[in-house]
Amino acid sequence: MKHKVTPGRFVILTALCWCALLFLCPANTAAQNTGVVKFLVDNQNGYFEILVDDTLLIKRYKDTLTAGPHKAEIWSYGYDVKEVEFMVVPDTTVELYVKLDRSTAYMAYEQSYHNYRQKFHKSVTLPVSLTLSMGITAGVFMLNGYDLKRQITADINEYALTPQASEIALLKASIESNNRKYTICRYGYYVSGGLTLVGIATSLYTGLKFRSDNEEPTYSRSSPFETRSSFYIGPGGFQFIYRIG
């Protein structure tokens, strides 16, 4: 639930931010009571969120914590939340290797998405690709055919105007040869053009049927910690998220 930030709330939030900054900033923490923990999170997408001691949500791999035992819940989208317990030793860096396990829901989603894509390729990609290739073939035949037609028409016109028997013989040979090629282009064009039309009709039918019969699977990437506050300091600035309500 989101609230409109009034001026009064803004002042409070700003103050809270500064408090948190001062509280969490390593320079202002009693160094002898803290240690560093490094989370080596093993997952494929590189993203993770860590909820430390059920209170502090961090999205970085390293943090300074008070010495003593701690508990962390680590999550990444597509993975189950994993709980780990660890001990922070003063003035020491503790490395914590955490391998996240794929969530069953995500694996089911991946499988259903894989099936969806396979159906998509079968119903849309394949007919559209074949139609496109047939269309390009028809286009090539058509362009060649038009070139030949223009040449033949010009030769026929020249034939009527030519008073030289030898030139007439050459023109007729050229017309006959070009007309043979033109006929091949015509048949090629009609066959590939017809197949293109069939392909368009098939693509439309299978595409529309696919759209009506299938729905793209979705997977929620929302974090189980999204209601928690978080604090982050990075090279570009700091971020403090506090959800009201």
Binding site: K149, Y159, A160, P163, A165, Y182, L197, A201, L204, L208
Partner: protein
């Protein structure tokens, strides 16, 4: 529904392209073509008897190669070989006249039958031969 209308329209447009070229199978209309298959390319316009400058009787046959039988050949000098009956063959060069036709003449000796058959053909200078001979008969 609109998709199918587009498909049908495409089909109609497609089928209207690359039609068979008219005239390819009938390339035999040029009178200079050795494979000319048209009708007689000239007609006899006039035939009359007259006496020449030496007082001998003669028969003049006037023939015309009409413009429509030689389209596009206007202003071109053409050579025509002519012969009436079995008389001497002559070579006549004809220019375009004002009406767009080519006119040629044959000055024949009188025949007792009074029938004059004009045989004319197109003379090819390069090959020194005459092609597409036709014969038309007339009486003065």
């Amino acid at each position: 529904m609109k998709y199918w209308i587009v498909v049908i329209a495409l089909g109609l447009v497609t089928s209207s392209c690359l039609k068979k070229i008219e005239g390819v199978d009938t390339l035999n209309t040029n009178i200079f073509d050795k494979e000319y298959a048209g009708d007689c390319w000239f007609y006899i316009d006039d035939a009359y008897s007259y006496y020449n400058d030496f007082g001998f009787p003669r028969v003049m046959i006037k023939a015309v190669l009409p413009e429509e039988n030689a389209p596009g050949l206007q202003s071109y000098l053409i050579y025509i070989t002519c012969r009436v009956n079995n008389q001497q063959e002559v070579l006549f060069n004809s220019y375009l006249n004002t009406s767009g036709d080519y006119t040629f003449f044959y000055d024949a000796a009188p025949e007792t039958s009074n029938e004059y058959c004009l045989e004319a053909g197109i003379y090819l200078q390069d090959e020194d031969t005459t092609i597409n001979r036709f014969t038309l008969c007339t009486q003065p």
